[in-house]
């Protein structure tokens, strides 16, 4: 048995926070409080949580429109993220970005990108700057993104420039509604191998396995060895977006993956490997639930943005050159 450490319980707490956040978003959606669309991260929590746990202060993260989990994992406050979902002035982007495009540079989040593959470009560029600061950038993206130009162009660019960037492909088996094998020639990791980029395929539902991979990858890239590509095998428990009932799943597939729920795996390992008790873990869940209820109520009461402060397309905008209706 390993040493019982608060940090390990905190990994569980973070994953449980993400799951609870997503369930709260879902219920607010169904009540019509959240408009538009959302893409939930339920089932994939271990990937963002494991990688974020290995970040240093100078590192940066780029994620996708399925980005609530990455935002919470990097430290975006639960309240400001929920306020953003509801379009409130106190949201992390003042209500301007909504669910798909959250940015929080104070918490190392370059952004969540609404176009598939966008995170890959953002992290690659950031790595040019981070190379000067001993920092590393991470791009999170799904299996669908590996067929975008962003993927090939940036993986190659990062490799030839030896940039400190970790490419994390969260393979959840489906690109939107379509199984990845139906639309992808060859393997996923094989593409990184063809470019001779260091790569590994891991169990993305075991947060300690993800964390260990993250620590090794960060060290490799931080030491000037160039990029790393990780394929993290995982599964989303919900549809692609709120309008997707996920009828494309194979019979029994969801049930089989529920047995590999990252929260379930973490609970078992906390008990068997780290000496925690079910009661201790239950009490973490209860405290997250209580806190989420408060967040939810606060968000619903938070004021909307002020129509008198619409902002500008440019920084330091010279209004004489500008136009508005």
């Amino acid at each position: 048995m390993m040493t019982k450490s608060v940090a390990d319980l905190e990994l569980f707490e973070k994953m449980y926070l993400i799951r609870t956040f997503e369930e709260t978003v879902q219920s607010l959606f169904q009540k019509g409080e959240i408009v538009g669309t959302t893409h939930l991260y339920s089932g994939q929590e271990a990937v963002a949580t494991g990688f974020a746990s290995a970040l240093k202060a100078q590192d940066l993260v780029a994620a996708t429109y399925r980005g609530h989990g990455h935002a919470l994992a990097t430290g975006v406050s639960t309240q400001s993220l929920m306020d953003e979902m509801l379009g409130r002035a106190s949201g992390v982007c003042g209500g301007r970005s909504g669910s798909m495009n959250v940015i929080d540079l104070k918490n190392r989040l370059i952004g969540c990108f609404g176009i598939i593959g966008g995170s890959i470009g953002a992290a690659t560029g950031a790595a040019i700057s981070l190379a000067r600061k001993n920092g590393v950038a991470i791009a999170f993206f799904g299996d669908g993104a590996i067929n975008q130009a962003y993927f090939y162009e940036c993986l190659n660019f990062a490799a030839v420039r030896k940039l400190p960037v970790i490419f994390v492909c969260e393979n959840n088996l489906y690109g939107e509604y379509t199984p990845w094998e139906d639309v992808t020639a060859g393997g996923i990791r094989a593409r990184a191998q063809a470019l001779e980029v260091k790569s590994e395929t891991i169990d993305g539902n075991d947060v300690w396995k993800v964390q260990q991979t993250a620590l090794e990858s960060f060290e490799y890239s931080r030491n000037g060895n160039g990029p790393v590509f990780i394929e993290a095998l995982t599964y989303r428990f919900v549809g692609h977006s709120r309008s997707d009932p996920a009828k494309y799943r194979k019979p029994g597939e969801l049930d089989a993956w529920k047995l590999r729920d990252p929260l379930l795996i973490a609970r078992k390992r906390l008990i068997s490997d780290f000496g925690y008790t079910n009661d201790e873990i239950d009490s973490v869940e209860k405290s997250v639930n209580r806190a989420m209820d408060v967040v939810r109520e606060n968000s619903l009461k938070a004021p909307f943005p002020d129509l008198g402060r619409l902002g500008s397309e440019f920084k330091e905008f010279n209004t004489r050159g500008g136009r508005s209706k």
């Binding site: 780029a62 992390v92 970005s97 470009g121 953002a122 940036c154 943005p305």
Partner: protein, 328 residues
């Protein structure tokens, strides 16, 4: 012919601007296809890599989307990148990063960070490159809030405006007309730092305003001389900045001359000339009073329902606008 040291070519103006800004600020970096070792396919940037090193001036793969991403991401993380897209026809490969990432970041992030990057790109025809290496894609970007577009017409202005673009806090597309690279003029000392968004009157006149940018400006000046011989006094307005466009100067010139011709190198349908004419029309006298438009503000579309609902014109807004103009 001996070129004196007082002469500045357009090509050297660009190199000097990059050189001086690289020297002035360690955060400035410059990269693109064949720009470092080869010094650029138009021989604009030789010697910069040797002077500043491969960390700050470097060659890249032929990957325009990755180049635009590299500029965006490095700017988010604190750099001030200058990227060369060899021919502006290749910009279409870089659209997502430029339009959805760089241009929207300042607004979308609720003003956490702006993106100070410059995309330099060669445009224009007349030098035998054919249909896919000669376009001027200004109008593709004209309707993108958050982007600035600069298009200089002379060497001194090119240097001044490129330095201003590099120092600007926002993403700037800087277009260089291929037909101008070898043009020269007497060097003028750069004094005060320039800001973007201002047009200039190159020649005053009272009968007609000729508006253009880049290579078209020289043609307008030449035409103005010929017009003068037949008794028509032409004012020549060099736009310099296409976005933002200098509405004030366009309108004041048109108010004076009551006649305005825009000379655009680009397809007539959907071109930037239409924007100039619309702006001139908005002085709201004569026909302009009954010919106008309602559109959304020059900002990205916001998420928050209260902001989004206010963003689009309702039937009531249309009604009020018509009533006002028709006095009912």
């Amino acid at each position: 012919m001996t070129v004196t040291t007082d002469e500045l070519s357009f090509r050297n103006a660009i190199r000097e601007a990059i050189d001086e800004e690289l020297a002035a600020d360690d955060k400035v970096i410059f990269f693109g296809e064949d720009v470092a070792e080869a010094g650029g396919v138009f021989a604009v940037t030789p010697g910069l890599r040797e002077k500043f090193g491969d960390d700050r001036v470097f060659d890249t793969p032929i990957s325009e989307l990755a180049l635009a991403s590299a500029a965006f991401g490095s700017a988010v993380a604190g750099m001030r990148p200058i990227v060369e897209i060899m021919f502006a026809d290749f910009l279409f490969l870089a659209m997502d990063s430029l339009v959805n990432q760089s241009a929207k970041y300042w607004y979308l992030s609720n003003e956490q960070k702006s993106i100070p990057l410059v995309v330099r790109s060669a445009v224009g025809g007349g030098v035998g490159f054919g249909p896919i290496h000669s376009q001027v894609p200004i109008s593709w970007f004209l309707g993108v809030p958050g982007l600035k577009i600069v298009a200089p017409s002379t060497p001194n202005d090119a240097k001044r405006l490129l330095k201003a673009a590099i120092r600007d806090e926002n993403p700037v597309l800087f277009f260089e007309h291929k037909g101008l690279y070898s043009t020269t003029e007497i060097r003028k000392e750069q004094t005060a730092h320039e800001s973007l968004g201002k047009a200039r009157i190159l020649q005053s006149g009272k009968d007609i305003t000729l508006v253009s940018c880049m290579k078209g400006v020289a043609e307008c000046l030449e035409a103005a001389k010929m017009l003068n011989e037949i008794g028509i006094s032409a004012e020549v307005l060099d736009l310099r900045s296409l976005r933002p466009m200098d509405s004030e100067l366009i309108q004041s010139s048109f108010s004076k001359t009551k006649s305005l011709l825009v000379v655009e190198e680009g397809p007539i349908t959907g071109g930037w000339a239409a924007e100039v004419i619309a702006i001139a029309n908005e002085v709201n006298t004569g026909a302009g009073k009954k010919l106008w438009r309602i559109a959304t503000d020059d900002r990205p579309i916001p998420f928050s329902p209260i902001l989004e609902n206010a963003f689009f014109a309702s039937a009531q807004v249309i009604l009020d606008s018509v009533r006002e103009r028709h006095g009912k």
